[in-house]
């Protein structure tokens, strides 16, 4: 066994797993607060990548400015969607809201094709090209940065949910909306906040994914990989998103290296089936989650 090679493969798996975790976080944040499964997360991720592209190329902004603006654009999009599309659907069946998010994803793809056309593009480089070595082990610079950013964001969210008033309000709303109302929590504002933060997170993930794989109107398919992660980790668990993402990232890296690339998805979906059979609510999910 070549341990250096194994270590490098493992580090690569951790890095791509962290990207999955970050995207999965977007699913979790919305589900946790509003019990809505947002299937447009992949397309919002795509929107983040295209916003960054537009700010840098069309408006000529510096990358340090374009990055927060793209993330803020994601937040604004989340706010508008929640107020105009999701809130009027309160009280409607879960399937109706789910289908609404599917439609939202299609609209986003169509709008992207109209505005930026259908060509795949490379994002302007904002991470540099210098390789990163941990000891003797090579890690792709972009993957290393993606891992650090994802880890920091997830750690931040874990702390916010535990200690920040807004985070506690969100948890309270997730647990029992009526009780949260009676405690004086502004539940609609919590819904708005959840959508804004989740869409900002997805847009940020879009920057990282776009920096690695480029952007195109079909890049939202990455969101489906993250959906697998949240189903395994638990739809309402931030920790589940983290561990699920890392697990899938590692397994895919090992399977791809030692079995062959054609076995990556087979392995991932085998784990998904096993997870659903053993813990249908996810490794860290709440037991009473309603399955659709």
């Amino acid at each position: 066994m070549d341990w250096l090679f194994f270590t490098e493969v493992t580090l690569a798996g951790l890095g791509s797993g962290a990207l999955l975790s970050l995207t999965a976080l977007s699913f979790v944040l919305i589900y946790k607060a509003t019990r809505v499964i947002n299937l447009a997360v992949g397309e919002i991720l795509m929107l983040g990548g295209y916003l960054f592209f537009a700010f840098v190329t069309a408006f000529g902004l510096a990358t340090w400015l374009a990055i927060p603006l793209a993330i803020a654009g994601g937040a604004l999009f989340g706010f508008v969607v929640e107020r105009t599309l999701i809130r009027p659907m309160l009280g409607e069946s879960s399937i109706s809201v789910l289908m609404l998010t599917v439609g939202l994803g299609s609209v986003l793809i169509g709008a992207t094709e109209l505005i930026w056309n259908t060509d795949p593009r490379a994002l302007p480089d904002f991470m540099g090209q210098t390789p990163v070595f941990i000891g003797e082990a090579y890690v792709s610079r972009k993957i290393a940065i993606g891992f650090v950013v994802s880890a920091l964001v997830i750690a931040l969210f874990l702390l916010l949910f535990r200690f920040w008033r807004g985070g506690v309000a969100l948890r309270a709303t997730a647990t029992d909306q009526a009780a949260a109302y009676s405690c004086g929590i502004n539940v609609p504002a919590v819904f708005s906040l959840a959508w804004m933060v989740a869409c900002a997170t997805a847009a940020g993930a879009g920057l990282l994914v776009g920096a690695i794989g480029g952007i195109s109107p079909t890049m939202g398919v990455f969101g489906l990989s993250a959906l697998v992660v949240v189903i395994i980790g638990g739809l309402d668990s931030v920790l589940g998103a983290l561990i699920g993402g890392i697990l899938i990232g590692l397994v895919e890296a090992w399977a791809g290296t030692f079995l062959g690339g054609e076995y990556k998805l087979v392995t991932t979906f085998s784990i998904l089936i096993a997870a659903l059979m053993i813990r249908p609510y996810g490794l860290f999910g709440t037991v009473e989650i309603e399955r659709l």
Binding site: F5, E8, V9, A12, G13, G15, S16, L19, I109, G110, E113, N117, T118, D119, P120, R121, A122, D125, Q129, T130, P131, Y138, V139, S140, R141, K142, I143, V209, I212, G213, G214, S216, P217, T218, V221, F222, L224, S225, A253, G256, T257, G260, G261, E262, K264, L265
Partner: protein, 393 residues
Amino acid sequence: MTSLNRRQIMGLAAGAGLASAFPGFTAYAQEKEIVIGGSIPLTGVFAFAGVAIEAGMSDYVKLTNEAGGIAGRKLRLAYEDTAYKVDTSVAVFNKLTTQNDIHLYYGDSTGFAKTINEELNRRGTILMAGASFGSELNNPEKYPFQFMAGPDYVEMFAILLEYIAKAQPGAKLVFVNSDTEFGRDPIEASVKRAKEMGLDVVAQIVTPPTAVDVSTEVLKLRRANPDFTIFHGYVLAPLPEFMSQAKQLGLKTKFMGTFWSMDNSLWANVGAPADGFMGVMPYRYYYDTSPDAPILEKIRKLRPTYQATGYMQGFLTAMLMGEAAKRTLAAGKELNGKTLKAALNSIKDFDTGGIIGVPISVPGNSVPVGRIYQFNAADKQMKPASDWISLKK
């Protein structure tokens, strides 16, 4: 609300009866045109190509009609978007061939070409080409009414291998392909061919269709340390990241690709990491000002901005369809799959107006010609790295 009296209803019924009894009566208005039908992917994963293909075909139709059409008949392109989905492509095919008298058709994928083949054989009235260069389609016995306006994927690899064998005999190669029908197509046959040519395929790397990060694949590439790495089954991603990481690791391998990953504008956006990327291209690029390419000059006048490689593919496909129709009508034959295919196969040393740099022949279902181009990041252009290479001389 409009209401019909009995006399009007009887009149309409008589009209309908006349139309069904004498099909020529309704077809009269259409008989002076040749319709090219198309299932074209204007949205979805292959939209970047579909949009360009439609532009290329439309421009050929426009130029031909301005020059008087084909044997006095005007050309018309009737197409719909398929989103690159086989079931939609089939539905579009059925719809368009019902609504129009179609003898020439453009399909969007290998999947569609295979699915519709039995129907083409059953009808025997249509000659079809498309966006697919699938090697399986390059079989005149199984696919008698289909062709492709360029080399099939195995032939593309053969052109690359021929170049490599001359440039560096005995070179070590790695093939990297996406885990799709498109990606897998030429791999097995090309491994065999490389061996016959004295080249050593030291590894084959497969990436899942949705791959974003390719770190683990790059690590495998480093272990194999080839002289040449040939990608197939991709448009752009994840090639730039693959090449960036390989450069970070100090690998000296030369990266190559096949037609659909050879568009100039895509690589121009990538910038420095794209420098040196090579690949096989069956057509000249939009900006080629060679004196023996008058059609490119016309295209530049029609469209002053860069047109993607799909444009040339669409243009040449329509040109070959038009030439087949022209030869069929000149021989006094009716347009159907058999006569059109025979006319197509009679094309020998044909001048494409410079879209391809050498005269071409269509002996079977493909045009086995290509040239190696290399991307120059400083000039942001693909530049010729070889002369035109014709297989099966």
